[in-house]
Amino acid sequence: MSGHVWRPLLVVLVLVGLLFVFRHYYVPDDFGVHAGGYSYGWYRQSAIQDWRWLPIRYQGRQTCVKCHADEATDLQGMPHVVIQCENCHGPANKHPKDPKKLTIDRTRELCLRCHAKLAYPSSARGGLRGIDAATHHPGEECVSCHNPHKPLLPTPAASDVNVRHDNQYCRPCHLDQVDVVTGMPHQIIYCESCHGYAGNHPTDPAKLTIDKSRTLCLTCHKNMAEHNVGRVCTTCHDPHKSSLQFLRFQP
């Protein structure tokens, strides 16, 4: 065969040879056919280990309750017990070493993930208690009224209407009034002391009867017995803002 065939052929052979040399050094030793055969198992074996050694960020409730037993007790029997701590508190990573403190997501948006009312008949979502975010205290953080660890409001036994409620029981609906009284001297008074026992309000009774009588105020304010005798105190005084602006109308 003449030279014009051999020369290019030689060049090609050398290139092919170089390719194999390059391949030998470039391709890792563990690259080849593994489990799965040629179709699905043609890979670098140590790539599996690359995925194996990633850090675990979400540690799970079992890890949290080792130290935070109180919170775990709080949640017992509550509907929120099914929610992982880290869904709201953020991934623990190596807490308490790193990070030392977790950043809690207290946003309204977090709660709305489940509690924005979507009346879906064929989904479990339809059965969740939900609110219309546009009308239910827009802008407020849910956690300012609702305790996410104990979301169920205390419901008194129907037979005993004289069980006194904590003021926080009233707050979810009567936000404005309860917040106004907070920080005022009257914050230590039960709402029910003046407004009457709530019972199963708003179901039963539908409306509470407020005691506006002078006698009620004089129970404590005995030295005021001679002050504007015969008048109803709340005519001038706002019981919710009793301290600084104790008069409804500035003279």
Binding site: M1, H34, G37, Y40, G41, G60, E86, N87, L112, L128
Partner: protein, 260 residues
């Protein structure tokens, strides 16, 4: 006219030229092939109960944070879809931000067409469907990879070798489920790994752990006592797009015909 001598010479050259590359290939004996395909003790499978999903999106949030998928990027290894059938026969589906922030409004996100308000009274049925990589027994994404950068592990999880991936995107196109995407930071193909680093440490995947209602469960399909295996064996389950012959290993309870 070719002489006998010339013919033999040329045949030898051609045969030699063919043999050199063939010799460089690994030749597997049937015994060796059987050995490397030997049954592993574990086959990871996933069970999605769409009846239980409420669309809270905690799974997507957990997945993104666990696996370092850029949180605000429009890409996720797992996502939640919403399907709404209204009484006028219209079917609406959406997955705003892959369901990362949950579903908090009734209106359907139509991307650039804006939000489509839905009158709750007209809803015939509505439900959520969590999606993730199906970890197919016959993964088309693996078949198309030109460099061997993606593969199925002996436990049946399809992984990507980030150091080997050239970013050609064939696998992203090949996946019938749209489960693959480009990682915005690594610039390689990215997909659900069933949280390979967690399941091998005895933890459930981040999404399965984050789900408050047990709508997502991961299990060992080779363990007949595994609750996931039991459900798949004893209940009515379905896989997505079975017509593709990919043999997905993510099984769904309560799937409807509209779900693709």
């Amino acid at each position: 006219m070719m002489t006998r001598k010339e013919f033999l010479k040329k045949t030898a050259i051609v045969a030699g030229g063919v043999l050199i590359p063939v010799a460089a290939l690994e030749v597997l004996t049937p015994e060796r092939l059987q050995a490397i395909q030997a049954d592993k003790a574990v086959r990871w499978g996933f069970l999605v109960d769409t009846q239980r999903c409420v669309g809270c999106g905690f799974c997507v949030k957990a997945c993104k944070l666990e696996n370092d998928v850029p949180y605000d990027a429009d890409a996720s290894r797992t996502w939640v879809e919403r399907y709404v059938l209204t009484s006028d026969g219209q079917f609406h589906a959406d997955s705003p931000e892959e369901g990362r922030n949950g579903f908090t409004v009734g209106a359907i996100d139509q991307n650039e067409s804006g939000m489509l308000p839905i009158d709750p009274k007209t809803i015939e049925k509505a439900y959520f469907v969590p999606k993730l990589c199906n970890q197919c027994e016959n993964p088309p994404c693996v078949q198309v990879c030109p460099v061997g950068a993606t593969f199925r592990t002996p436990e049946g999880v399809v992984l990507v070798d980030r150091t080997w991936c050239i970013g050609c995107g064939y696998c992203i196109m090949a996946c019938p489920y749209g489960a693959r995407f480009f990682h915005p930071e690594y610039h390689t193909a990215e997909k659900c790994t069933f949280c390979y680093h967690r399941i091998n440490d005895g933890l459930p995947s981040a999404c399965a752990q984050a789900c408050p209602f047990g709508a997502r469960q991961i299990g060992d399909l080779k363990d007949p006592e595994d609750p996931v295996t039991k459900t798949i064996q004893n209940e009515r389950v379905m896989v997505l797009k079975s017509e593709f012959g990919t043999r997905p290993q993510v099984y769904y309870v309560g799937l409807d015909w509209e779900v693709r």
